[in-house]
């Protein structure tokens, strides 16, 4: 019993180097920022009193500032707050307040018009809720490394240590999606008979980027893809939580969602799923990715600066 208790504490409460947290935080902030920017084109249509849903109905548990503030000015202020807080979370400045505001604004917009949401939007909201909870409860300085320090050329970044329970929540959330997805798929016939992906790839309204015709027409390929997706979704929870197969699980899962994102119009579903997968990276792997980004930025900066100097000289 004591061993179980110790393992439980170790799982939730052993601090780790904050590189994974930094990567996940920046990715989540970026996804929410992009989600917000894309929403800007349709603010009036979806949220204004002169739009498609002038008087939305709220059930008791739905949190939204638009219950009380319904003017176009309120929508504009909330929208700017959404963008500002998502940007702050991305760069890692003012994290505690920004994460709470980001969650509140995402809830406000999503609950004000639930008719335009898909599963990816719901996952964005859930991950924002976990992040806001973490921002409020974790000790100060637990936000991970600000991007300004990561990309500062003068000194090497120091990641420090941070609690891991936010990453654990994200890992568990991501894992639970697959069994429920499989249960849902087994309710219909097309997944069992192996034709589901063929049907899906032929739905014109979902088609995004070009695919070879044979992928849409061949039943054999369709069978392979359908049963392949089922097999991957069934295996992922086991692969992700087993030390030796974790990387394989991340590769298969990210590959699955990048593939779906390429072929089909699914909004931000693929983006937020890939962001959630980052929580499964070890601090060492996340650190390598971040330091790689730092090197890339430095290299681009070096390449651009001589040109800039030359341009400045020419202008002078």
């Amino acid at each position: 019993m004591r061993t179980v208790s110790e393992a439980w504490s170790r799982f939730w409460h052993t601090p780790a180097e904050s590189s994974t947290l930094t990567l996940f935080r920046a990715a989540l902030g970026f996804v929410v920022l992009s989600w917000g920017i894309s929403l800007g084109f349709d603010l009036r249509a979806f949220y204004s009193e002169t739009g498609l849903l002038p008087a939305p109905e709220y059930t008791a548990y739905r949190i939204s500032i638009f219950r009380w503030f319904t003017s176009d000015l309120a929508i504009a202020i909330a929208y700017l707050t959404l963008l500002g807080s998502a940007l702050a979370v991305t760069v890692g400045r003012g994290f505690r307040l920004a994460a709470v505001l980001m969650w509140l604004m995402v809830c406000s917009f999503q609950f004000d018009n639930t008719y335009v949401l898909n599963g990816g939007d719901v996952l964005i909201r859930v991950l924002c809720a976990y992040t806001a909870l973490y921002a409020v409860l974790a000790p100060g300085g637990s936000a991970g490394l600000p991007l300004s320090e990561l990309f500062a050329p003068a000194r090497a970044p120091q990641f420090g240590r941070a609690p891991v329970w936010l990453l654990r929540l994200v890992q568990i959330q991501l894992t639970l999606i697959y069994p429920f997805s499989i249960i849902d798929k087994f309710r219909g016939e097309t997944w069992l008979e192996g034709t589901a992906t063929t049907w899906a790839l032929n739905l014109v309204e979902f088609q995004r980027l070009p695919l070879p015709d044979v992928m849409r027409e061949s039943l054999l390929i369709g069978n392979g893809l359908t049963y392949g997706v089922l097999a991957v979704e069934f295996a992922l929870p086991f692969l992700l939580w087993t030390h030796r197969t974790r990387r394989l699980g991340i590769g298969l899962g990210v590959g699955l969602h990048l593939g779906l994102n390429y072929a089909m119009r699914l909004g931000f579903f693929g983006w937020i799923m890939v962001a959630a997968y980052l929580a499964f990276l070890t601090p060492g792997e996340a650190g390598k990715l971040l330091l790689g980004a730092r090197k890339l930025a430095a290299s681009v900066g070096q390449r651009l600066s001589p040109r800039k100097e030359a341009a400045d000289r020419a202008a002078a």
């Binding site: 989600w35 894309s38 349709d42 249509a45 049907w199 032929n202 119009r265 909004g267």
Partner: protein, 99 residues
């Protein structure tokens, strides 16, 4: 309805598709008047006048991709709004839906 390119437009399109799929349902009939007003509002400035706004349900059986059956579209108007914006239907969409 914006469909747009597969890069930027795609990130708007899915929301409109969701709206389109849900607004047509009888269980969401409370959405129909405001949707008709929203669609018709830009045409109010047209000097020829706006006669009415109709919401049309258009559907087809999806033929099996590996078969030879052709897609046959069917449609019917499930809601009509006669004038904008002062004469919103007071009888409720059920009576004016034409179903």
């Amino acid at each position: 309805m914006p469909e747009g390119d597969p890069w930027i437009g795609d990130k708007r399109f899915y929301r409109w598709r969701k709206w389109q799929r849900r607004v047509r349902l009888d269980s969401n009939r409370e959405l129909w008047p405001a949707t008709a007003v929203y669609i018709g509002a830009p045409y109010l400035v047209d000097p020829r006048g706006l006669v009415s706004v109709g919401l049309i349900r258009r559907w087809s059986h999806t033929p099996a991709p590996w078969g030879t059956e052709k897609r046959v579209w069917q449609e019917f108007e499930f809601f009509e709004l006669d004038t904008l914006p002062t004469a919103l239907p007071t009888t409720g969409p059920e009576e004016s839906s034409g179903e």
